[in-house]
């Protein structure tokens, strides 16, 4: 399934930078609107405290202390994995088909990790202390607190991805300099500081190593490690326990990640007429990956359900029974099943394939994975090993304040892409020109 897009010219590549349309302004307005709605609600939360959310306390208080904020945090980190899957596929495995969307995926990683960070900031009761408490405590607390491991690894993931981008962008900016806007000259000068063509080979090897480091660290040790450990290492909640949480979290992350890339790539293809640059075959390939990851996701859910109900300890059995009797859980599972069936169906019958349908399916998957994550957090907290508290069960429905944060972060990602696509080429020059063909 090799795809050749080397016929596409450089002007096509910089089209987002060169054009300015009403649709762009409309998208900008929508993004700013979403962010505005969230900021309005968030300022209320800052003024009055977290009491404006529907969170409460498990135990005698009746409720859940972690809810949509934490669910959305995990969800965004999961989406962030798109960047590394695509880059790894291109750089480590030589799957050049995906080169046209590799940088979009890397940018999605940066944006999604930023949103994950925002959810941590707005989740805590004293955001003003976040830096002043965390940094001094880091040397001693990283020894013990899974939350501190999490902060450490996400910082590393963010920095590695940004370094990856910063190094690869030098090549493109240098060669496309004549097509980039002059008023941003200082920025481009900074980005390409000390650039010589002799570095290309060296940098190529450096970014291979970054991709190598991230592919081990981010999927396996962050989303399949530190994040599920936030829950599975605790002695308190039945539904959170077990080694299956690592693989399970990872499968959900990868499913969300591919969906995220499909949506972003389709949006750029549509907006800038990039049918040649991001051909249909890229989406057909991504659809197969989506189907495969969905299958793994569903398989791991099956593992949890069957081990949780057959002859499980009382508290785990109870937690699992509650989980499978929650209609929303089946909505989430259903959305992923749909994606898997669609992917496999279009693999068998390519004429059924349609990019718009795939985008719709991907949006469904993202809704499904967010739902699953929030349910995991909330239902886990509602069914502790210490079952006496069932006398005061608290219901949890996310408040408008919390829901607005999800919308706000979506707005931030849209805004991020709108701004970045006006500054740097969001598709690598390598996608359209073989390495050796390029000369300045």
């Amino acid at each position: 399934m090799s795809v050749d897009v080397t016929g596409v010219d450089r002007d096509t590549l910089v089209r987002p930078i060169k054009t300015f349309s009403n649709r762009y302004v409309a998208a900008l307005a929508v993004a700013l609107g979403l962010i505005g709605v969230w900021l309005f609600f968030y300022s209320q939360q800052l003024r009055n405290g977290l009491i404006v959310t529907n969170l409460a306390d498990w135990g005698s208080g009746g409720g859940v202390p972690w809810g949509l904020y934490i669910g959305a945090f995990i969800w965004w980190v999961g989406i962030a994995h798109g960047g590394i899957i695509l880059s790894a596929a291109v750089r480590l495995l030589g799957m050049d088909t995906y080169q046209p969307v590799a940088r979009l995926a890397e940018l999605l990683t940066i944006a999604a990790l930023t949103c994950a960070g925002i959810f941590i900031l707005i989740h805590v009761g004293r955001p003003d202390r976040l830096v002043t408490s965390v940094l001094p405590a880091w040397p001693t607390r990283v020894q013990w607190s899974p939350l501190m491991w999490d902060v450490t690894v996400i910082t590393a993931y963010f920095v590695l991805t940004a370094t990856y981008l910063a190094l690869t962008i030098r090549y493109d900016v240098n060669r496309l300099r004549d097509r980039l806007p002059n008023r941003l000259e200082p920025l481009y000068a900074a980005l390409t500081v000390g650039y010589t063509e002799t570095e290309d080979e060296v940098v190529e090897r450096m970014v291979w190593w970054i991709a190598f480091a991230i592919i081990i660290m981010a999927p396996l040790l962050l989303h399949g490690g530190v994040i599920p450990w936030l829950f599975s290492l605790l002695p308190s909640m039945a539904g959170w326990h077990g080694g299956v949480q690592g693989p399970s979290f990872l499968s959900i992350a990868l499913t969300s990640a591919v969906s995220g890339i499909i949506i972003i790539a389709a949006a750029f293809r549509h907006a800038y007429g990039w049918e040649e640059l991001i051909p249909r075959a890229v989406f057909q390939g991504l659809a197969k990956w989506l189907g495969f990851f969905s299958l793994i996701f569903l398989w791991l859910q099956l593992q949890q359900v069957i081990t949780g109900i057959f002859a499980a300890p009382t508290t785990l059995q109870h937690a699992t029974e509650v989980k499978i009797s929650t209609p929303l859980y089946w909505v989430a599972i259903g959305l992923v099943v749909l994606a898997m069936l669609y992917a496999f169906a279009t693999a068998l019958r390519p004429d059924l394939f349609d990019i718009r349908a795939l985008v719709g399916i991907s949006v469904g998957v993202l809704i499904g994975t967010l739902t699953e994550k929030v349910l995991f957090v909330v239902e886990g907290l509602q069914h502790a090993h210490f079952a006496l508290y069932d006398g005061v069960p608290g219901q949890y429905v996310p408040s408008p304040v919390e829901i607005s944060a999800v919308l706000g972060t979506v707005g931030i990602v849209v805004l991020f892409f709108l701004v970045v696509s006006k500054v740097i080429p969001v598709v690598e020059l390598h996608a359209i020109e073989e390495h050796e063909e390029v000369d300045a």
Binding site: L121, Q143, V153, T155, A156, A162, V202, M206, W209, A213
Partner: protein
Amino acid sequence: MTALVPLTGLLAAVAASVAGLAPAPTAAVPGAVPLSAEYTLPFVGPGTYLIFGIVLAPVYAMVAAWFIGDPSDRFAGLLGVGYLAGLTTVLWGSLFVATIIIGTVFF
């Protein structure tokens, strides 16, 4: 065989501390229970091994490869390290500014 002894000792220590199964021979004797578990002491937690030994190992390999091996270049390597350090500072620095603003306006 003897060379393996320190290694197995370390592995046992890691396993014990990760699982929270560190031997506490005195715990069974009433009146001799320590006031707090060992984890209040620094440099003995599972995170030490987990984060610096396992999770960040690929990053060590990456940075080493930037300077060793072929083709490599001192300037490019330092540029990479500069990006790592600079971006970490920018990330936490900007978060710091954000929290300061929140702090002054709302707390």
